[in-house]
Symmetry: D2
Subunit: 352 residues, 4 copies
Amino acid sequence: MPAQAKIGVLGASGYTGAELVRLLLRHPRVEIVLLTADRRAGKSMADVFPQFAPYKLPALAAIDDVDWATIGLDLAFCALPHGTTQKIVKDLWTRAPHVKIIDLSADFRLADPAAYARWYGRAHAAPELQQHAVYGLTEIYRAQIKMARLLANPGCYPTGAQLALIPLLKAEATDPDEIVIDAKSGMTGAGRGLREDMLFAEVSEGFHAYGVGRHRHMAELDQEFSHAAGREVIVTFTPHLVPMNRGILSTIYARGVQAAPAPDLHALLAKAYADEPFVHVLPFGTVPQTRHVRGSNMTFIGVAADRVAGRAIIVAALDNLTKGASGQAVQNMNLMLGFPETLGLEQVALFP
Amino acid sequence: MPAQAKIGVLGASGYTGAELVRLLLRHPRVEIVLLTADRRAGKSMADVFPQFAPYKLPALAAIDDVDWATIGLDLAFCALPHGTTQKIVKDLWTRAPHVKIIDLSADFRLADPAAYARWYGRAHAAPELQQHAVYGLTEIYRAQIKMARLLANPGCYPTGAQLALIPLLKAEATDPDEIVIDAKSGMTGAGRGLREDMLFAEVSEGFHAYGVGRHRHMAELDQEFSHAAGREVIVTFTPHLVPMNRGILSTIYARGVQAAPAPDLHALLAKAYADEPFVHVLPFGTVPQTRHVRGSNMTFIGVAADRVAGRAIIVAALDNLTKGASGQAVQNMNLMLGFPETLGLEQVALFP
Amino acid sequence: MPAQAKIGVLGASGYTGAELVRLLLRHPRVEIVLLTADRRAGKSMADVFPQFAPYKLPALAAIDDVDWATIGLDLAFCALPHGTTQKIVKDLWTRAPHVKIIDLSADFRLADPAAYARWYGRAHAAPELQQHAVYGLTEIYRAQIKMARLLANPGCYPTGAQLALIPLLKAEATDPDEIVIDAKSGMTGAGRGLREDMLFAEVSEGFHAYGVGRHRHMAELDQEFSHAAGREVIVTFTPHLVPMNRGILSTIYARGVQAAPAPDLHALLAKAYADEPFVHVLPFGTVPQTRHVRGSNMTFIGVAADRVAGRAIIVAALDNLTKGASGQAVQNMNLMLGFPETLGLEQVALFP
Amino acid sequence: MPAQAKIGVLGASGYTGAELVRLLLRHPRVEIVLLTADRRAGKSMADVFPQFAPYKLPALAAIDDVDWATIGLDLAFCALPHGTTQKIVKDLWTRAPHVKIIDLSADFRLADPAAYARWYGRAHAAPELQQHAVYGLTEIYRAQIKMARLLANPGCYPTGAQLALIPLLKAEATDPDEIVIDAKSGMTGAGRGLREDMLFAEVSEGFHAYGVGRHRHMAELDQEFSHAAGREVIVTFTPHLVPMNRGILSTIYARGVQAAPAPDLHALLAKAYADEPFVHVLPFGTVPQTRHVRGSNMTFIGVAADRVAGRAIIVAALDNLTKGASGQAVQNMNLMLGFPETLGLEQVALFP
């Protein structure tokens, strides 16, 4: 565990890359020594994200030009598009054996190569590494994360839904066959790629669902919910897009085992997260807003009773770029490098 | 049925009032002869809504100053806050017997005085009129609406949810005990009243649920869904606020009677609305966006299969101020005055 | 002048194309018989703009597949990107001599081929047509527009700035060397092309200037302001982007010929536009908001005194897609086809 | 200079109050011991700003209930509405002589009681304190601020405009009679008070100017610009509202003393701020965006040439709640308490 760790961000020109740099720049025990962005190689970070203009940062490099032997990285974040990461991680794994890896893509989240092939339509390019990858939902897998060399950082939607539901599934307090997750995300969740349907005029002043009935984040939910429940769990999940930059709100409809299950579900969650620095359970009957966690690593969870007998409504809010991606990645880095878990993540949410 | 009808808008300084004026100004067979707004009496409509500056409109009057005997109204829209309307409608009913009334508040939507008292916490002030009020969901109650003197215009949330579900409940194609409605509304739904939680900086750049587990619009849903199903129906309904001005999207989770019910539900809806000018059912698997109905009187409905066996996902989108309030009110006015139903409502949605 | 005119929209898959279709669909004397969009040829208009799903429209065609001889067009709107239009207009001019043309691009706005070459960095491809093109600022060139076969529809920024300043320059009431135009536009002004800097997350929740010191719309301003003043006029003009879809507000700083020129400037504008259906001058001291002209063909102009002696502040607001593009194009079409000028353009602004 | 200072925030339920708490909660050398909010006294800070739910903070107190003798404050921030502050500061000045005061209102910004009376329409209630108040534009008055007991924190608009112009006026590089400041602000600048014109639906999706020709921030600009220029300076200043939460962009039109003054003005600014931690001058020709300073204490300044001879365009961007209010207040607190100036203000901007 180094006094000061040397860190690289692969894919620094995307939104999760920028969020990593925002957090790491102020982390007292790391130094950013490598930033890659193939199509922008040679440019400065300020060229692609002007907010970094006042700060000293390495120029953007092409990943093929990195000399892994001499750069002396302690840990690399992979913030690359889904699908492109497997080859790069495989390369890093063999050529830079002392480098720990946190992958923010979906490439190593599924332990089962068959599940990967089924959801992504092609064979995994590094199946031998999938077994080494630890799934990085910090509050659930803290012990394993401390030991990990390769960490698969959870998806933004799955982080909120799992934090809300896993304690309830483990306690067998909710019916695994009656879960509906209606999720709403800000626009940064779609990344910085060029898509007509992400232009301002296409997505402002309106609201819509997408991926209805079938969305790749379901694979991750299936795996983890089934693991928590000790049986196969398949949930209904519908993502929507909100005209805002950051934030995911998951409204979860659950059926408990009693007529009025909500207070018990609330008590279970409050107990599960009583000592967690980044999960806050609101008073019973109060539900969270995404704006109150903006820019912070917090997840807020609320539970309310439904008037329909047997049902409860659970609402979880987080910032998709922070706890839903780069913040949780830094939280995991802290564990993997032996730092205090909250280091560099103490920012209070930016509201209004 | 007059060649040119004389119309009044009571409560013209709110959002549904302004939307009525927008539509009525261009309606070829009506003349706006009365606009009331008690706190703004004496001002011009342009003082409270500058978009009307170029048009000739009556000055805002106080309701108590209106001489019902001489003004010669054919029809009055009541766009007043919930709760204040009962007395005014009662007054109008007796003092101006030739005036038809379309009430956009919730005051006359519940046929059962006991239900009103239960949901609103006080006795109805004009229970003798409740029986005369026709519930104005145009596509469902067209025949009755043509005969109505007092029309209770449906709520914005209930309009979308009912258009999506009533044909399915009538056909017994969906389980009435397994309906979850996750609804999302733009900010105009909250009206123009002064509330800290509706300031721009409080509600932009974020998303949240409200009224979780209990919301007054449920009363209207209970009444109409139970009527359609021929048995008591109590649904789960959660409203949310989207940082946009106009639009409601309802994501509805339904359980059908077969393993894969979605295609049948789609076929039922497509058939039910094949000839409707203001309800458009999208191709199977396609879901709507609120922005594509903005400013129009259209409701778009989509149906998609869920991967969970037995479930379907139905999504309905409308503009809460148009089909969800003032547009439907004008549609009902057309029926009540014997005009073609679509008159003055032909505007195409404003997108982008 | 046909009872019912046959209209084509070339470039129907962009924002000005969609706005044309929105307006033309409800115009009582036109029929849309042709919609082109080369990259989307074969698709329906609803595929590229779902708001048109309920309406009957021709499928999108490739422009090279159009048989100009048989289609029988009366008028074609060219809503194609700047630069691509010259060849197409030239082609249309010779092959379809009975078709009138309204070009919404910048290609025919500059009468002087040398000015075109200087601002656009290449020679004009149809200089012989430039002399036939009538500049389509309706309120200024109404007489010429009625006679035009080829009309160059003004730019969105220039429309607002010119309506505010031309009467003042003509009256020699403002110093032509002391004009500063600080303009702010919604995002649809950038069109529907794929640009990273127009993604929602890049441009929401922020504000910035662009094209500072040099912007192509200046060429059009130079030409028309110089024409109005009878001498060369070069103004300072800075465009900015506002996180909204529609609207342009121009804040104009002018120096008059007296110590307190504002009331006189206001009187000049009020007189100039007293009978105009689509220009409304607000009471002295009142300034407009873009939201109050949204979706309408109106321009609102306000004038206020500045505390600095000799200066006045003029503010003009319009909807960049309506009066700033497609609405003014339809207004010009009405003149060119002998229809009443306001036909199909009576919509009241959509606010809120 | 205490190792750990005890801090109070008077007026903690407004936006500048919340921004102070956000920054102070993570400041390593302060402890928040007092939060007041008269109308919310007895409530928790999380009741009025839910983002603070996870943190330990004193309950909101009524200001009259504070025992200044025993609370042991080192410094109090007054984040109260303009006009209400004078009495409270006077009270604090006499009853708590060891407490330093940073006032975020406009009450002590004008050194001249006559100017105060002229702009605010009433006599100042504590004119004897006005002479003790130091105007807190940190980069300009650093030496005096270190000695201050009562500090008048600058307004949000004036901060950006002054940072851009004062070095130029001091150097006599720009004509003081030819300055136009066209400023645009996010909605938090209006505060949290209940105003119909600040409701979401009133101000989203649109843009407008306000206070045209006369705005109280002019008084502060007059005083400081005149001081810098050594002669009376009266500028043209027009504020506008942008549908975003945070940020002010000032587009400044200046006339230099040469034909092409922009490069020299840029060089002057670059030199003036070369060593400043919170003012960053962009490369010549590049202009800033508000989003790239959001949530940070940075001001970005850009300079570009205008095509009009003799003119330059200067653009300054800052976050109105941070450098424009609470961030600069903390920066001043650091100086007044002998802490490193940047302590607690190192956050990188939150973009996207």
